[in-house]
């Protein structure tokens, strides 16, 4: 019985970690899914915005000496601006080009940004200095036997939940949210109805990028490690989460992120830790093959 | 004589929107059949159903006497698929169990193989029969299924015995080898069966657009769909694709047959281009053609394979009067070659002169059918086109 209890507590701990991770994936996945919903583009560079978010906050905290929460807020703003610029510079000129061209541009941007970060910050793994973080982060918020939940995890989870609710309200209760939904249905008709399509797309990029940058900071805190290639794997996993939930659907991205985070932590714990990243690739491939519309998404057909 | 195209009770709905509602249509060989109707009447949807691009919700299409859409309802197809799967799985389980349980030690391998072939041969015949004559074969299949199930259950309850048989010096190869020898061909046979069009239709697979094209159906599109970055000649040669056979290895080796095929394709393409009077543009890129010329090129691409049935979706759109006169001449020439032409057209003058038989669609329903004169005087057609009933006229 003793060992069973230990096992179940280990399992619970894994579950808690998985949910935390899943929340972060969901934050990144939302960016993918919103952009895909609006302009049907897989924004490969989104993972890089996530990485930039982590680095920007790091630079502000260490070099400029800003307090952590100020840096946090500022990073969101900068990332939002950055998302708008990304769209303006790279994607907007290709709005009417073949989709392959936009996709290749997105990949090119991703590589460019990643290597730019490599040149600026170097390839060493960095971490947020302990002393600038709120000291409460490292303490346990809640302990039950072997299972513990740190304040950092509480912070991550609550930030995730708050922003998700905020996002839901924005999409469903505001004018710009309505406009976003309209644009995702039909760009031309929306333009004819007097919606500024480009403005809506910029807004989508801004929100998605802010969320991505925030996820970058949170992961940087959680794993205590930031490095220029972090956006690559995280981006792909978040994309897998978006696909799992149903690309183009925001609640789908949240659900997908949660499921994938748990699946990954439990898979790594019980199946094979070497194939930790493989689990999300496998999930992604399986979903695309067998249920491309995802858990809660709509089927996209081609018009003849 | 059978009609070349026979559409029976065809319906198509997109979600809640009904695009076609029990449409019936018949086209005889070497006839020019017109299809008219106001915008959004479902004409292009009908074309897409005919060419296999959109699956109809319900109904039958026969092309040259062959059905080309699934014949059963979705539920029945699902039942069929599930029972076949079960049949297969039990079949695979049953025979090795039979070997390991019932056969006395004195049996030789050859006899085992013969027995296996007999059993599986019976099953193949049964599957075949099931495909050909549907109903009684169905019941037979369920008898087999039931017997498999009972045997399987019985064998499972005696699992120890069979293990003992192998354990008591009965070589494993006696079970495995004959099994492999008979079971694999059986499965291959069944999969081969699935390649045949009839069987695939039973299992709910449509005939794909490319297969339909190879059966002799050619079409053009309302909004031109050419291969714009290729030369005019290559566009037409692609239309000849189904007539050629060379695959990867022939292409790699470039033997005589492959070269002859290429030459024949070239000849056919040049001839088709001459037929539509486009030979002076043969070596230009399709994107450099004028709009009218692109329409001609689409027709040439559809014609080069000598289809039995040619579907033209608004071919005269964007043509000037001289060009549409030429188009009419061309269509008469096509009919003379023995090809049936089904044509959607808005230009009533063209249609009245051209068609032998006209069908009128309105809101997805076939409201009238007949010779051009009959259609002209049909009150329902007038109503559909002018809006309002006869009282307002």
């Amino acid at each position: 019985m003793e060992s069973l209890f230990e096992q179940s507590s280990l399992f619970l701990q894994q579950l808690v970690n998985g949910i935390t991770l899943g929340g972060v994936y969901a934050l990144i996945a939302v960016g993918y899914t919103m952009v895909y919903g609006v302009i049907q583009l897989i924004n490969f560079a989104h993972g890089e915005i996530y990485m930039l978010g982590a680095f920007l906050a790091y630079t502000m905290v260490t070099v400029l000496g800003l307090p952590f929460f100020a840096a946090f807020a500022l990073t969101l703003v900068i990332c939002a601006v950055f998302g708008i610029l990304l769209d303006l510079i790279a994607y907007r000129p290709l709005r009417n080009a073949p989709r392959l061209a936009a996709l290749i541009t997105a990949i090119g941007m991703s590589i460019f940004l990643q290597n730019l970060a490599l040149m600026i910050w170097g390839s060493q793994i960095k971490s947020y200095p302990r002393e600038v973080l709120p000291p409460v982060f490292s303490k346990a918020a809640w302990t039950f036997g072997e299972v513990s939940l740190s304040w950092l995890q509480v912070f991550i989870l609550s930030v995730t939940v708050v922003f998700m609710i905020l996002l839901h309200l924005i999409i469903h209760k505001t004018r710009i949210g309505t406009a976003m939904r309209a644009v995702s249905q039909d760009k031309t008709t929306s333009a004819l109805m007097g919606i500024g399509v480009n403005r809506v797309i910029s807004f989508t990029f801004a929100i998605g990028s802010a969320m991505g940058g925030m996820a970058g900071i949170l992961v940087g805190l959680y794993y205590n490690a930031i490095f220029p290639t972090m956006g690559y794997i995280a981006g792909i996993k978040a994309f897998a989460a978006a696909v799992l939930g149903g690309i183009g659907s925001v609640p789908g991205a949240m659900l997908g992120g949660g499921v994938l985070g748990i699946a990954e932590v439990i898979g790594a714990g019980y199946i094979s830790s070497e194939y930790r990243d493989g689990i999300s690739y496998a999930v992604m491939i399986a979903v695309i093959l067998f249920k491309p519309s995802g858990l809660i998404g709509r089927q996209i057909g081609e018009k003849v | 004589m059978n009609p070349i195209l026979h559409v029976k009770d065809l319906s198509k709905s997109f979600g809640g929107l009904v695009a076609l509602q029990s449409v019936d249509l018949k086209a005889e060989t070497a006839q020019i059949v017109g299809l008219i109707g106001p915008n959004g009447a479902g004409k292009t949807t009908l074309f897409n159903c005919l060419t296999g691009l959109t699956p109809p919700t319900q109904g039958q299409i026969e092309f040259r006497g062959n059905p080309i859409v699934p014949q059963f309802s979705e539920g029945r197809i699902r039942l069929l698929k599930a029972s076949t799967l079960l049949f297969f799985i039990l079949g695979w389980v049953w025979v090795p169990l039979f070997y390991s349980l019932f056969l006395p030690r004195t049996f030789f391998k050859v006899e085992l193989v013969l027995l296996g072939i007999f059993i599986l041969g019976m099953r193949c015949l049964m599957v075949r029969a099931f495909v050909e004559f549907k109903i009684w074969a169905w019941s037979l299949m369920f008898v087999f299924l039931l017997s498999d199930l009972i045997t399987g259950l019985w064998a499972m309850s005696h699992w120890g015995t069979s293990i003992a048989l192998v354990g008591a010096g009965f070589p494993f190869g006696y079970v495995a080898l004959p099994w492999a020898i008979v079971a694999v061909p059986f499965s291959l046979f069944f999969m081969g069966l699935l390649l045949s069009r009839r069987v695939r239709l039973l299992y709910g697979f449509r005939v794909s657009p490319d297969a339909l094209c190879r059966m002799g159906m050619g079409r053009t599109f309302q909004n031109i769909r050419l291969f714009f970055n290729l030369s005019v000649l290559d566009n037409v040669k692609i239309g000849f694709h189904g007539q050629l056979k060379s695959g990867f290895w022939q292409t790699l080796i470039r033997g005589r047959s492959q070269r002859q095929e290429e030459e024949s394709a070239e000849r056919a393409a040049l001839e088709a281009l001459r037929f539509v009077d486009l030979q002076h543009r043969t070596f230009d890129l399709a994107s450099s053609l004028a709009y009218g010329e692109q329409r001609w090129l689409e027709i040439a691409r559809a014609l080069v394979a000598r289809p039995h049935l040619l579907l033209l979706d608004e071919p005269a759109a964007g043509m000037n009067p001289q060009e549409s006169a030429r188009l009419m001449d061309l269509i008469f020439k096509i009919r003379k070659m023995g090809t049936t032409v089904l044509i959607i057209e808005h230009d009533m003058k063209v249609m009245m002169n051209l068609a032998d038989n006209i069908f009128v669609l309105d809101y997805g329903e076939m409201i009238a059918q007949g010779s051009p004169d009959e259609i002209r005087d049909n009150p329902r057609v007038i109503e559909a086109y002018l809006g309002g009933g006869p009282s307002t006229c």
Partner: protein
């Protein structure tokens, strides 16, 4: 049937290039000859890889991000066969190509039904999985320790060691691949691919079986990639899972985007310009900046898509050129009759 005695431009070009390549090792570059040869061997290897990749995005119009997976499969097939069975290169090359094609079919058959973006993602996932397997299946691949000590290839019992020998070998392979791809392009198969690239629905209505031709394209592309990998393993004599990461796919994609997707000459030109450029960068830049060289590739992708999406030698102009050749041939025949 005697052909008309007319030599066209591309034939002259081909003969000239082959002669130039054969003369190259004997030109007086002095001490740097071997260095130049090594750079050019790399460039020619990438020309082969680019020709192989080009079949899928260039000819068939599907973005394939997993090409390097097949390159890796080929390299490991070659390395393992060489280490465990000591086979000759001429046995290894077809086996590697076969293995590549096999995996190409296994991956392609279920995934080629997907629309463009999803296909790109699945192929990407495949290449990452390949790297993960290569890295973790220690019993087979020795994982992160890599596979050292692959024997050099030999021809008629004479082992190849010198740079010019490898250079001749890879030029020969390029010639073979070039002929294969040219024949594919100018045939029923190639036309079907082009039709799919231009308009899938119209292609279907012309009798082209989409899945079959996409899978064929994918398998041929994969086998060429695997062959390139097989050569690479035999040439470099050491392979490591990290050599086959996603970046490599991007690099090759970059070559064909730069040169012109869909045009054979364009893809080869792209490789011939960009690969030596990389080597120049390696010589010029300090080590720390050189590791960020992919920055330039990313920039090339973005800028090309913005200003010249069709590449240096666009698909259309390649097709126009082909049409002109056909015209010459046909009018030549007519003139003779």
């Amino acid at each position: 049937m005697p052909r008309p005695q007319e030599v066209n431009r591309s034939q002259v070009l081909i003969i000239g290039l082959v002669l130039l390549a054969l003369m190259l090792p004997w030109l007086p570059f002095g001490a740097s000859t071997n260095y130049i040869l090594r750079v050019l061997t790399t460039a020619v290897l990438y020309m082969i890889l680019a020709l192989g990749l080009n079949i899928v995005p260039g000819f068939t119009g599907l973005l394939d991000l997993g090409y390097v997976g097949f390159y890796g499969i080929g390299a490991y097939t070659s390395g393992l066969l060489a280490i465990h069975y000591d086979l000759s290169l001429w046995v290894i090359l077809p086996l590697a190509a076969l293995n590549g094609a096999l995996w190409g079919i296994l991956l392609g058959a279920p995934t080629l039904r997907l629309t463009g973006d999803y296909f790109a993602i699945v192929t990407f996932g495949f290449s990452e999985l390949v790297v993960l397997v290569l890295r973790n299946e220690l019993w087979l691949t020795r994982g992160p320790m890599g596979l050292p000590g692959i024997s050099p290839p030999s021809i008629f019992g004479h082992p190849l060691t010198r740079d010019w020998e490898f250079f001749y070998l890879i030029v020969f392979l390029l010639a073979v691949v070039f002929v294969v791809v040219r024949r594919m392009e100018d045939s029923r198969l190639g036309r079907a691919w082009f039709a799919i690239r231009e308009d899938e629905i119209a292609a279907q209505c012309c009798g082209v079986n989409l899945i079959r031709y996409k899978v064929t394209a994918f398998a041929i592309s994969a086998s060429i990639g695997a062959m390139g990998g097989a050569f690479y393993a035999k040439w470099f004599k050491f392979i490591h899972p990290d050599m086959f990461k996603f970046w490599e796919s991007i690099l090759i994609l970059c070559l064909i985007v730069f040169g012109g997707m869909g045009s054979i000459w364009g893809t080869m030109l792209g490789a011939l310009i960009l690969i030596p450029l990389t080597e120049i960068l390696r010589a010029v830049l300090p080590q720390s900046l050189f590791s960020a060289r992919y920055l330039i590739y990313g920039l090339i992708l973005v800028l090309m898509m913005r200003w010249r999406p069709e590449g240096l030698i666009p698909f259309e102009s390649a097709q126009a050129e082909k049409a002109k050749q056909t015209q010459k041939r046909l009018t030549g025949l007519v003139g003779k009759e």
